[in-house]
């Protein structure tokens, strides 16, 4: 870069010529291609996904889910004769990366809506830009506040944490009939939020917890916490862990210290990493999960199609992105035109719409779902138990 700038223009006429030729060729190509297709250009939907960095693996599933939905939409005739095309940008699993990726998508004025991140912190970082741009933004982050800060462009395709906390409390008290409860939570935004929601829900059920204890992410030795759990005399354990690796280590130590309790946890308890480490220490535990392959008729249908296309088991990453594209396509069919405001209004009008995650009923905050599935770890297999919907 520096080198080119330092060389006087006279010394590189060849470079200029090549560039002009390439430019002319590009012009020619762009002029001929649409003519050859003779159809309307596809509707481009933006998607911010992690292709590199820590969440790179989950990024693949985001992509698969969205692409399966786009394929189905196109097979069914597209949207008013136009096909759907996904434009993906890498968020590098970082907040600045996510904002940059979003800005790159916003530069393309043909894109009428964007699918954002499953990570609450990244969504939080992107929201101001979304509000400024005024474009429908689909998210998978479950932090309660994301849809409650007066940003009219946010639509959520997973149930928020307030619901999971209520379902955890309700199930422990009403179904498992556990009397004395201990709550162990991580001390990040997710865990502290969960703590507040769970204790509030328990208060409403007149079942004040006997112990509420936080831990820091990445903790390796839970002996101190587990001794206080034992001393509290709790017969039920509620966990609100952020990372499944932490819960894997925690579960092993619960078993080693011989603590026997009924146990229900936030979604990390059913994630595969923790189960791999904990093995039978997690058998018989319950967890909440927004997606399960047997969650509904539509979940089963999605699972079959996903397995057929990718020869893989679907997960919540692919499920919410599949729903985001499907719901968006439905909204664009219903909307009078593809202006952001029209699409926004059309999404708000979507009620009783079956998705892979569950039934979508968008409220004025942009929250589409209000259910959680209870699942049970049966000898290492996560079995569907029941679905609980929470009154909003």
């Amino acid at each position: 870069m520096l080198y080119v700038a330092l060389v006087p223009p006279l010394h590189r006429p060849g470079g200029n010529m090549i560039r002009s030729a390439a430019f002319a060729l590009a012009l020619l190509a762009s002029a001929t291609v649409p003519a050859a297709q003779a159809a309307e250009p596809p509707i481009r939907i933006g998607q911010v996904i992690p292709m590199t960095g820590e969440a790179a693996e989950s990024g693949r599933y985001h992509k698969y889910g969205a692409e399966l939905a786009a394929e189905q939409v196109n097979k069914a005739g597209g949207i008013r004769g136009r096909k759907v095309e996904l434009v993906q940008e890498d968020d590098k699993t970082t907040n600045p990366g996510a904002v940059t990726a979003l800005q790159r998508l916003l530069e393309d004025k043909e894109i009428p809506a964007i699918i954002g991140s499953i990570r609450s912190t990244q969504v939080q970082a992107m929201l101001p830009t979304v509000k400024e741009a005024g474009i429908p933004f689909m998210i998978g982050g479950t932090n309660y506040g994301l849809t409650h800060q007066g940003n009219p462009w946010v639509f959520r395709f997973r149930p928020h944490d307030g619901f999971s906390a209520k379902v955890i409390a309700k199930f422990a008290v009403e179904e498992l009939k556990l009397k004395k409860l201990a709550l162990v939570h991580s001390t990040d935004a997710f865990g502290n939020g969960g703590r507040d929601f769970v204790t509030k829900a328990l208060g409403e059920l007149k079942a004040e917890p006997a112990l509420v204890q936080g831990y820091n992410n990445g903790e390796k030795d839970f002996t101190a916490i587990l001794t206080s759990v034992r001393q509290s005399g709790a017969e039920g354990l509620l966990t609100y862990f952020t990372f499944s690796t932490d819960i894997g280590i925690f579960a092993k130590q619960v078993k080693q210290l011989g603590i026997k309790v009924g146990w229900i946890g936030s979604p990390s308890i059913v994630a595969v990493d923790g189960r791999k480490l904990a093995g039978e220490a997690l058998y018989g535990t319950y967890g909440v999960s927004d997606f399960h392959v047997d969650g509904s008729a539509k979940s089963k249908e999605f699972t079959a199609a996903y397995r057929a296309k990718y020869n893989l088991e679907p997960d919540l990453y692919s499920a919410w992105c599949y729903d985001a594209v499907t719901v968006l396509a439905e909204a664009m069919r219903r909307a009078p035109d593809l202006k952001p405001e029209s699409i926004r209004k059309a999404i708000l009008g979507i009620k009783g719409f079956p998705g892979a995650e569950g039934e979508y009923n968008f409220d004025e905050n942009g929250d589409g779902l209000d259910h959680y599935h209870i699942v049970r770890n049966e000898n290492g297999v996560i079995k569907y138990f029941k679905t609980i919907r929470v009154p909003r």
């Binding site: 790179a56 990445g218 002996t223 101190a224 916490i225 791999k276 480490l277």
Partner: protein, 294 residues
């Protein structure tokens, strides 16, 4: 009483891990006057080497362990030649920065090669379903027992090696006074390379031994490295006995602090200990003077 016993065992066990890593830091510091900030990453790489040998090459545990240790020894040599040797005549700062750079490179390299999902390693002793034994009301994890035994044996062997073998004495002489050692005909560069090899082995071994208790991830070395660093300070920099005692003490302080004061500030206790030592006893537990080395 049972609770205190349980906490003491857990604290000593986790402290044993810190001690092994701290030992590597102390040895390299003695030999080169440089803090190796990549020591924690040696744990991570050792654990990954074992993962690769058991799951990738499907070797038996013994063969896999040997191969992983050999890999670590080779890495130690490469590290000494590639990171330390080119900068050996500079001040300590470029070398420290280079070790930090190496640490970042190792972390991201592991992320690129092995991916972000954590790997699991089988314990050395497959002991029933809980992987340990309950005596009285105290649970003893076999892997932690193995770890403590290995730490004790290694420390004993190391003592014998440094005090009673010629090679050990040459390495000691090198760490005490490089110029004098050189005058006496000791191949100083080779001794330093050997120290790196040994320290890498120690770090790798610590990683392989904790891997079945934790997960193997590209980030596992960072926390261990920092805790071990704190333990090295408490022990008095470059003091081998101090590093071991500092590691064990750190584990115990952390665990009891978490149990009786605050779980959330658990990591804080390690650094509080570090600050207290720097303020009140910068020469470390055994009080060896650090400044005397040229």
């Amino acid at each position: 009483m049972a609770i205190v016993g349980q906490l003491l065992f857990s604290g000593l066990a986790i402290g044993g891990v810190y001690a092994l890593v701290a030992l590597g830091i102390a040895l390299i510091y003695r030999a080169t006057n440089v803090v190796n900030f990549a020591q924690g990453e040696f744990c991570m790489l050792g654990a990954y080497a074992l993962v690769f040998a058991t799951q990738g090459l499907r070797l038996g545990y013994g063969a896999a362990f040997a191969l992983a240790l050999a890999t670590m020894a080779l890495l130690g040599l490469v590290f000494a030649v590639g990171i330390y040797y080119p900068l050996r005549n500079r001040t300590f700062l470029p070398v420290i920065i280079a070790t930090i750079g190496a640490s970042i490179m190792f972390q991201n390299g592991a992320l690129a090669v092995f991916g972000p999902s954590p790997e699991r390693l089988a314990p050395v002793i497959e002991g029933g379903t809980s992987g340990g034994i309950t005596v009285g009301e105290i649970f003893f994890d076999y892997q932690y027992l193995v770890l403590l035994v290995v730490t004790v044996v290694l420390v004993a062997l190391q003592y014998l090696f440094f005090e009673y073998t010629l090679l050990g004495k040459k390495m000691q002489a090198t760490s005490q006074d490089k110029d004098m050692a050189r005058l006496l005909g000791i191949p100083v560069t080779r001794m330093i390379a050997l120290t790196f090899v040994y320290s890498t082995l120690l770090g790798g071994l610590a990683g392989m031994l904790v891997a079945p208790i934790f997960f193997v991830t590209h980030k596992m070395g960072a926390v261990l490295g920092f805790k071990a660093f704190a333990a090295t300070i408490a022990g008095g920099f470059g003091d081998v006995r101090g590093a071991i005692l500092g590691g064990l003490a750190l584990g115990v302080v952390e665990t009891f602090g978490a149990a009786y004061i605050s779980v959330v500030y658990k990591d804080g206790f390690a650094f509080l200990l570090l600050i207290l030592f720097l303020l009140l006893r910068p020469q470390g537990i055994f009080g060896e003077k650090v400044a005397e080395k040229a």
